[in-house]
Symmetry: C3
Subunit: 368 residues, 3 copies
């Protein structure tokens, strides 16, 4: 399925489904990023609220990650306030009950040897992959092959990967996903920092493959954006610019952007992958992790590459934290403050978000 | 209609209607003060929540004010975070949609030329008058002749007008209006600063003319309050003191206070007009704007007049911010914290507030 | 009734009643501590929210305490913002209405001599006893003989009593009472500060007498805890250690702890009484007052006794404020955040709390 967005009329019945913010529910049977792998050193207990559930992450002695409910079965104290004890167990700080990586209570000292059946906790499937700890919050089988491909984070040398980024955004994850999938806001929100000259007049291509929605833009023979000039040797002052972003239901995205010489294949140019990982914390707050990985690096020496790595990281953090986040959080506040149900006016650029919304609606039904 | 308040017995059936704080609704078809005119410089976008609705104010190129909903029709972002662009349009910061002073969408760049009908926003009637930007939030015809007469703010020289005051009060507007209309609290809350000796024992006169309620007090041959001695030449150490305050439904008030020589006409004395402008922000918060204008100024020279101007301004700000506001906000908190409906004991001094309440009840019915 | 806790099986039907946190109601017909007597100097008006009701405490000219609703009958302003005036009356800061210790309106200046019947306020029974101001919030007869015996606070010399402690805890009072009644958490939460070596393996004895539940522990011939070594002369390095705590429904507790020579009567040893006074402020917050009083003091001279007094006070404040409170408040947050009703796993150590819960359930029924 592949269709130019120009053919979708605004306000057409096909686009009638408005993005909802306050669903009051989440898709539980899906892979979410719980933490960057680097956020979970051995021996630590790391709490994280995910889909409104308290979760505590830790590493077993063999280094593999584990996650159980962060709420003791006895008195409901956060286990993350306790201690990781030998035998891959989390010990409650209040009365010393110990829970294994599968959530089973392994020790109750009151008196020793008595373990009530009710003292077992939910545990969650976790997988360490692509420098991240992935978590599956639902009851259906957790298939690691469903994790989107972020292999660029594993296969690229560290000098071409920006530091793992984290922002806590006070908005529903759908508002952030819509923002990322929407290449047209770049001109208004990130003018002069991200995007390419002329990009706003380019055609938008929309593709859907299963539960993946991809939006692409391409501009021919324009001044090469500063960020790509920095990444390329001389002779790239002008060329073709391109960006595509894929949304993997429900909330992870992968962007590819770059420039090449006019009329040449895109792969002959250079640019970066943008990694965008959204994990609902609550209905109104989202964990947002991000990074960037250069592709087709045109060797310039480690000193220059480190400069570029720093620069991409800084620009992207500025764009998300100082430009996107204030707008998205204000949007969330306006929606929450409204006493009536808001019906958005739909534009041609909303075709991507609308398609995502339909997929989410279906997944929510399947999730029950 | 004109009646001395002494004739109203406390607890009489006539006063049974208790002031409510939590109506959960507002009178929309009425004039409210949106801003002081000086709060809206040319070229700015000024947000203000009024009757729980987000409003953005701006000036057209001809200088006249305009106000539209401060929430883009597309993604609900506050337009006040955007830019005022040529053609008297507000441009959304997110995707660049442009809205005119009448709320119509004038430009959608995605793609240019397509403007969905649903992309139009509510606009509000606004009028600049008496140094204020007035706004009408309802759907009924907005008749500027209904704006109460604050012409003293326009006709007096600036040296006789205190600086425009603003306080954000964490209380329902009715509680503040009741406070202002109630001349008897002055002895207890503002003792030594406002009011006249003996005022608490004077008769209260209550008049109603249409939707205007006026409460007046008069004391004969007492020591002239310090503030009026300051405003008068020698020979005014003793005389008659008087105060009357008119409430213009739903929430603007005008006070006249002063002193004159014993037995002389009040107009032969001197004093000031007190301007009190209440605009509900939410059910529990109110924009309170205030100023004072001297009447029958007895010329003393600019230096002395400026001292008087400063002094009146300081005393009144102190009285509102440091004396009234803490009490009214504590009152609001007690009402909100109560789990049962509170029925106030009614006193003779509540005749004014009770009459206002009846008018508000009727206006609420008419407002639907 | 007297039974070793070992005989109560976890998960037995007898323990099925789970502690509730969010009852949405309180036991009103009971004695609560309103203030330490020292918190109420003559001439002051002291506000305190108790069982979600605003109360103002003051002393009459004869020194006896009084308490009335802290909300004027007229405009609902907190009377505690007003003034105590001659005649044991509280004057409202807003309009000067005066209320007596029995809640009756004694003066309304608007106009003088008119006092509407509705202007009377609820008053509360208060008793000063054992260095505390006790308050009875309900309508049933308030019998001072029902106040638990804290006479140690009155009969002991001041040098053996720690300073009156106060903490505002962001948790329901039942969670705190459960914590105090549960001697088994000491090993995990207060390890090295409170408790005795081997205490966790000792038998727990549970006794119920009317509405008093007592939990006791005893360990034979162990190293004497540092705090008791400090309180005893030489020769007490080893001995028997014991702790018992009684809960007086609904929310006051008295602990007795100490050490004696091995095999000797407990009364031949030394230790302290722990006073724990819980007063619900709201469903989710509690006033917690505490102190400690030494018993069977083995004279060491005033300097040493003052050191001991300070040390017990510091250790206990640290244990409550820095060790217990963070855990109990996190427990409360987890309970509040849960969207489903939480059913705790019950352990043998919960026999005491479960018995208290049954008594509270009965008292709630009787309270209506």
């Amino acid at each position: 399925m592949d269709q130019a967005i120009g053919s979708t009329k605004p306000d057409s019945p096909d686009m009638a489904a408005a993005p909802a913010v306050e669903r009051g529910r989440f898709i539980k049977n899906a892979w979410y990023v719980g933490l960057w792998a680097s956020e979970l050193p051995a021996g630590t207990l790391v709490p994280q609220t995910i889909l409104s559930e308290p979760v505590v992450f830790f590493r077993k002695q063999d280094g593999t990650p584990a996650a159980i409910l962060d709420r003791c079965a006895h008195r409901f104290v956060p286990l993350s306030m306790g201690t990781l004890v030998p035998g891959d167990r989390v010990q409650c700080p209040y009365h010393g009950l110990e829970f294994g990586a599968d959530g089973r209570c392994m020790n109750n000292p009151h008196p020793p040897g008595t373990i009530p059946t009710a003292a077992h906790l939910p545990s969650f499937h976790v997988v360490e992959k692509y420098s991240m700890i992935w978590i599956w919050m639902g009851d259906k089988p957790a298939d690691p092959s469903l994790i989107p491909d972020y292999s660029c984070l594993e296969t690229s040398p560290a000098i071409h990967i920006t530091d793992p980024g984290y922002l806590s955004i006070k908005a529903n994850y759908e508002l952030i996903a819509n923002n990322l999938l929407d290449l047209s806001h770049v001109v208004y929100v990130h003018g002069g920092i991200l995007g390419s000259p002329g990009l706003e007049q380019s055609d938008i291509k929309l593709e859907t493959h299963g539960d993946v929605v991809t939006v692409s833009r391409f501009v021919k023979d324009v001044e090469t954006p500063g960020m790509f000039q920095m990444m390329a040797p001389e002779g790239y002052e002008r060329g073709d610019s391109f960006t595509s972003i894929s949304w993997y239901a429900p909330s992870n995205l992968l962007l590819k952007t770059g420039s090449c010489k006019t009329g040449q294949p895109q792969e002959s140019g250079t640019g970066y992958w943008g990694i965008h990982l959204l994990t609902p914390e609550t209905e109104r707050t989202t964990h947002y992790r991000y990074s960037a990985v250069r592709w087709n690096v045109m060797t310039q020496g480690d000193e220059k590459n480190e400069q570029i790595r720093q620069k991409i990281g800084e620009l992207r953090t500025f764009a998300f934290a100082d430009q996107d986040a204030p707008i998205i959080e204000a949007q969330q506040r306006r929606i929450v403050a409204s006493t009536t149900k808001l019906e958005p006016a739909l534009l041609a650029i909303d075709a991507g978000p609308v398609r995502c919304r339909r997929i989410l609606d279906r997944l929510l039904l399947e999730d029950r």
